[in-house]
């Protein structure tokens, strides 16, 4: 039994050390519901479906996990998570998170692809991303006031 407790503590220690590295500088641990452990597996995601026009978007998943109220705020295909915060299920190790994500979470692009005129109500990938982002960002005043904010906030313009 002692052995198990020791192992868990060791893992926690390692995670605490590693965490800043994968979460990047934006990680404001302690601000959101993810506070207790600050663990989230995907870390930073490169969104590059528009890389023809823009530099890929560096999406800091960790930071968003920490501010989101619950996973289904973005991951709408995960309705069971509506009532509970992310960390209640995912405040575990990265491996565990990955395992749980495999069964519970789906990447946006696995459903949302190119726009299909036959299903006009179904968002394409671009709309899926943006509508998700804008739920919060429109209210934060950095979207919808200046077309330049697109390139200032997320989409660095491709050089050349």
């Amino acid at each position: 039994m002692k052995k198990i407790v020791f192992c868990l503590m060791a893992i926690c220690l390692v995670l605490l050390l590693v965490q800043p590295l994968c979460a990047g500088s934006d990680s404001n641990a302690g601000a959101g519901p993810a506070a207790p452990s600050g663990v989230s597996a995907p870390g930073t995601i490169l969104l590059d479906s528009l890389s023809r026009i823009y530099e890929p978007v560096n999406f800091n998943h960790d930071m968003h996990t920490s501010v989101a109220e619950h996973c289904s705020q973005c991951h709408h295909e995960h309705p069971s998570a509506k009532e509970v915060t992310c960390t209640e299920c995912h405040s575990i190790t990265a491996t565990d998170f990955r395992r749980s994500a495999k069964t519970g979470f789906i990447a946006c692009r696995s459903c949302h692809a190119a726009i299909d005129p036959a299903q006009p109500g179904f968002p394409g990938l671009k709309a899926a991303y943006h509508r998700t982002c804008f739920q919060c960002h429109r209210d934060m005043g950095d979207v919808g006031l200046d077309p330049l904010s697109c390139s200032m906030k997320c989409h660095a313009k491709k050089k050349g």
């Binding site: 006009p120 509508r131 006031l145 330049l148």
Partner: protein, 308 residues
């Protein structure tokens, strides 16, 4: 300009008096047509639009329009109300949001591709076509530049190239007809980051719009602009604020504009047939009267001479 034999014969037959009636009656018969069933349309959801002007940029690119003086990421264009011009098929305008002042509302303006377009019924040369696919197209090779389509359009859409000496033409959105034919979607709809501009079958879009409104009555006012306005338009709109606040004409008749002139056009055959008969007989009567009076006078003078 090619004038083939059939067209020539048609012209000749139009020139002959009796055939003059033909076209008008066929124009009247077209009144029962309610549009091609599978035609495409667009749905703009003003609650989704963030004013990024990606649609303007994409439209400019796919239609090979001239580069604008002000770049597409410059928000200063929102300081004035713009309209489509000879250099832009579509423009986005900003309106104050009375409900939520921090969040301005953006309205994309372009041709609405009416079910029964007023521009097409205005054109004396048939330069406009409502295609079965939905887009309303304009053929500059037929146009002589009377600009009656611009008078007739209830949405102030067609623009004219007043600066061109020899090739002035009407400029307006074509709903990316060529792209649709290739199986692609219009440039603006593809570029829109939020799909606030959605492309699809008009019938599907009507359903979608109704669903959106029903699902979220807080977010939308209960009206699909374009469902019935001016006889219905290919481009539909839903909004969170009343449409008049976004500069829409809300007093348009629900029947197509052409209905307003059908009564007049139906009088044309009547005039062509009744007038010659009427005035011909008046002429005959007045000639007869004249001859009669002259005879009478001669007769009287003779009688006067004879003293019967």
């Amino acid at each position: 300009m090619s004038l083939d034999r059939r067209q020539f014969l048609k012209t000749v037959s139009v020139l002959t008096g009796s055939a003059v009636l033909g076209p008008y009656t066929s124009a009247l018969a077209s009144g029962e047509f309610h549009g091609w069933p599978d035609r495409y349309g667009m749905l703009t959801d003003f609650t989704e639009c963030v004013g990024c002007r990606s649609c303007e940029k994409a439209c400019n690119e796919v239609n090979h329009l001239p580069q604008p003086e002000v770049p597409f990421d410059d928000k200063s264009v929102f300081d004035t109300q713009r309209r489509p011009t000879a250099h832009a098929y579509t423009v986005v305008n900003r309106y104050e949001n009375t409900g939520d002042p921090g969040k301005p509302i953006y309205r994309k303006v372009q041709c609405n591709h009416c079910n029964e377009p007023a521009c097409a019924s205005a054109c004396p040369i048939h330069a406009y076509t409502k295609t079965p696919e939905g887009p309303v197209l304009y053929n500059e090779n037929l146009c002589f530049g009377c600009r009656y389509c611009m008078i007739a359009c209830p949405f102030y859409v067609p623009a004219y190239d007043y600066a061109s000496a020899f090739e002035p033409r009407i400029v307006k959105c074509v709903m990316c007809y060529d792209r649709i034919r290739e199986g692609k979607i219009p440039g603006c709809a593809e570029a829109c980051p939020t799909q606030s501009v959605t492309f699809g079958k008009r019938s599907d879009l009507l359903k979608l719009a109704a669903e959106k409104i029903a699902k979220d009555p807080e977010r939308y006012i209960d009206h699909i602009y374009g469902e019935r306005e001016a006889g219905g338009t290919g481009w539909l709109y839903i909004s969170g604020v009343p449409f008049e606040q976004l500069g829409f004409s809300t007093d348009l008749p629900e029947k197509p504009m052409v209905e307003e002139v059908k009564g007049f056009l139906s009088s044309v055959p009547v005039v062509f047939t009744v007038w010659p008969a009427l005035f011909g007989s008046i002429y005959a009567a007045s000639r007869h009267h004249e001859a009669y009076t002259r005879e009478e006078m001669q007769h009287q003078s003779k009688e006067g001479g004879k003293e019967k």
